[in-house]
């Protein structure tokens, strides 16, 4: 601290606490709503303290899905779908980016610059700006309502490739020379030196990409039409699609809590890595 200004410090804490409270408010209300009976949620204003239906609501959505008015798959199933797609997206992105960054850094070949630029351009073309044609390609390949359709189109990653490229450039040349003198081929060098050295970046990137995969919205919205293929995020949206009267908010909110829990826990449990990874990756 530069100087001692107790009043200013007090106000700093006060405002920060208010800020934290406002940020936490929506999730607190969601938690309370998820523990109430359906008629309690519909009161105006709804109670601000947790009710007694917590376990009942969560078991119901996990095993049967939400509500009698809108049919959806059980949330357990949706969470499984979310988990599968988040894992495939995270691991797939890391795998293909490691390989292509290795090729770009450690080999010189015709079209290298072209390959690099093609990967760079994908940064500027997120699904959102090419919705219709991408959907058409995936449907022509008969990949609608499959895990492959949910994940493979999202696996190409310029960000991850750049991160690994940047990191590989910092690996001392002596290591590659030594490996070559000892008779190790490029793939041996990749597995025994490059991958182990990249472990911290891989871990940090995995966290960010897992969250990215879990939270996908537009893409699963387009490629899933069968209830059994919905991810959690899509499932919640479908639950409120029945209109005002049909929505059982206590169950929707229980599902929302379940949809937030895995990525939020991941962030909080690995905070140090995660923050470092995020700040390093994006800058």
């Amino acid at each position: 601290m530069i100087e001692n200004r107790p009043i200013l410090t007090f106000f700093s804490h006060l405002i920060l606490v208010i800020g934290v409270a406002i940020v936490a408010l929506p999730v607190y209300v969601t938690f309370v709503a998820s523990s109430l009976a359906v008629d309690e949620v519909l009161q105006s204003p709804m109670p601000m303290l947790p009710g007694s239906h917590l376990i009942e609501n969560y078991t119901k959505v996990l095993s049967q899905g939400a509500s009698t008015n809108v049919t959806t798959a059980p949330v357990g199933r949706m969470m499984f779908n979310s988990l599968v797609s988040a894992l495939v997206i995270a691991i797939g992105k890391i795998a293909i980016s490691l390989l292509s960054a290795f090729a770009i850094v450690y080999f010189r070949f015709p079209f290298r610059a072209l390959a690099f630029w093609m990967i760079f351009v994908t940064l500027m073309l997120p699904v959102e700006v090419r919705i219709l044609p991408t959907f058409k390609v995936v449907s022509d390949l008969h990949m609608l309502d499959t895990y492959a359709g949910l994940t493979i189109p999202l696996i190409a990653s310029a960000t991850a490739t750049f991160l690994f490229r940047q990191f590989f450039l910092t690996i001392p040349d002596e290591l590659a020379e030594a490996a070559r003198i000892d008779g190790a081929g490029p793939m041996r060098f990749f597995w025994d030196v490059v991958v182990p050295l990249s472990r911290p970046s891989i871990a940090a990137l995995f966290l960010i990409l897992f969250i990215f995969g879990w939270n996908q919205y537009l893409w699963p919205l387009l490629v899933t039409t069968e209830e059994s293929m919905y991810t959690t995020v899509i499932g919640i949206k479908r639950m409120i699609a029945g209109g005002e009267a049909a929505t059982e908010w206590n169950l929707v909110m229980a599902t929302a809590m379940l949809g937030m829990l895995p990525p939020a826990l991941l962030v909080l449990l690995t905070q140090k890595w995660f923050v470092k990874g995020l700040v390093d990756t994006e800058k």
Partner: protein, 293 residues
């Protein structure tokens, strides 16, 4: 920067790069090319015949009042999301940086909204702002505001802005805090010895030194507001009421999948690509420059 130590192989680099290239070609370049090509065509309602019309789709687009209105909504929305998101997080980060020892605790308490899916964030706020059930709507009505985001366009826009800012605060906060903590303490101490108070120090030293971070975050937030908020709009308002929250990305989707106005949707995709390419180039230009420092 180039490596001195390289490996030699005729085929291996191509094999290594093949998976990335295959996915990029099939799912990025093919659709993007399609979008550009189709944006120059007109298809009849049954998809039987198509006709090449040069830039007619674009001309129609920029004569279309709905599209221009969507541009305005996007501009207002992005401006509010970027400015509010940045100023609130900067304010909180400056305070957290002040209370050095507790900064980590506040970081933990502010970081988790990053992990919440935008669509879920939208539904949480939709519930809070729901005119009959929502607790925040209840407070607002208690203050005499006839709150109804389902019917009132301005209210709906406020709701999606709040949800989008809420979701983005943690990200901005983390970067601002990291930026603040990397400013040399000696500079600030020197200013304090010369008699500059906290506000003066912030204006003359901290904020200018923070400007690379601020600029980076500004671009990221504008891209976020342009593109990633699709989920928030779709889950909270569906572009309504009327067209009050129909941002450009949402209109591409609505016209393509619901309105089935394909030529227009493709042309809109191309316009968005141009905007996004411009933003990304700006962002990378700046990153390149920073590397040289």
């Amino acid at each position: 920067m180039e490596k001195r130590a390289r490996f030699q192989s005729r085929w291996l680099p191509y094999a290594l790069i093949a998976p990335q290239m295959a996915i990029t070609l099939v799912f990025f370049f093919l659709p993007a090319g399609q979008a550009v090509y189709q944006s120059l065509m007109v298809q009849d309602a049954f998809g039987i015949s198509t006709q090449f019309v040069w830039f007619d789709n674009f001309k129609d687009l920029f004569r279309n009042d709905e599209y221009l209105a969507s541009f305005r909504v996007t501009a207002v929305f992005s401006f509010l999301v970027a400015v509010l998101g940045l100023s609130i997080s900067l304010f909180l980060a400056v305070l957290a940086d002040r209370v050095v020892r507790s900064a980590t605790i506040y970081k933990t308490l502010l970081i988790w909204p990053y992990a919440v899916a935008p669509a879920i964030a939208a539904i949480l706020w939709l519930f809070l702002f729901n005119p009959t059930l929502g607790i925040v709507a209840h407070w607002l009505q208690g203050l005499g505001i006839p709150w109804d985001p389902l019917l009132n366009g301005t209210h709906a826009l406020i709701m999606v802005v709040v949800a989008a800012v809420w979701k983005q605060i943690s990200y901005n906060f983390l970067f601002f805090l990291a930026g603040l903590q990397s400013i040399p303490k000696s500079l600030i101490e020197a200013a304090a010895i010369d008699g500059a108070g906290p506000v003066k120090r912030f204006v003359t030293i901290v904020f200018p030194l923070l400007s690379p971070t601020t600029f980076f975050l500004l671009v990221v937030n504008i891209i976020y507001a342009f593109i990633e908020t699709f989920a928030i709009i779709d889950a909270a308002t569906g572009g309504g009421p009327g067209q009050a929250t129909q941002i450009l990305v949402y209109k591409v989707y609505a016209d393509g999948f619901k309105g089935l106005d394909l030529g227009s949707s493709y042309a809109q995709s191309v316009v968005l690509m141009v905007i996004l390419i411009t933003l990304t180039v700006v962002q990378f230009r700046y990153v390149e420059r920073k590397v040289q420092y």
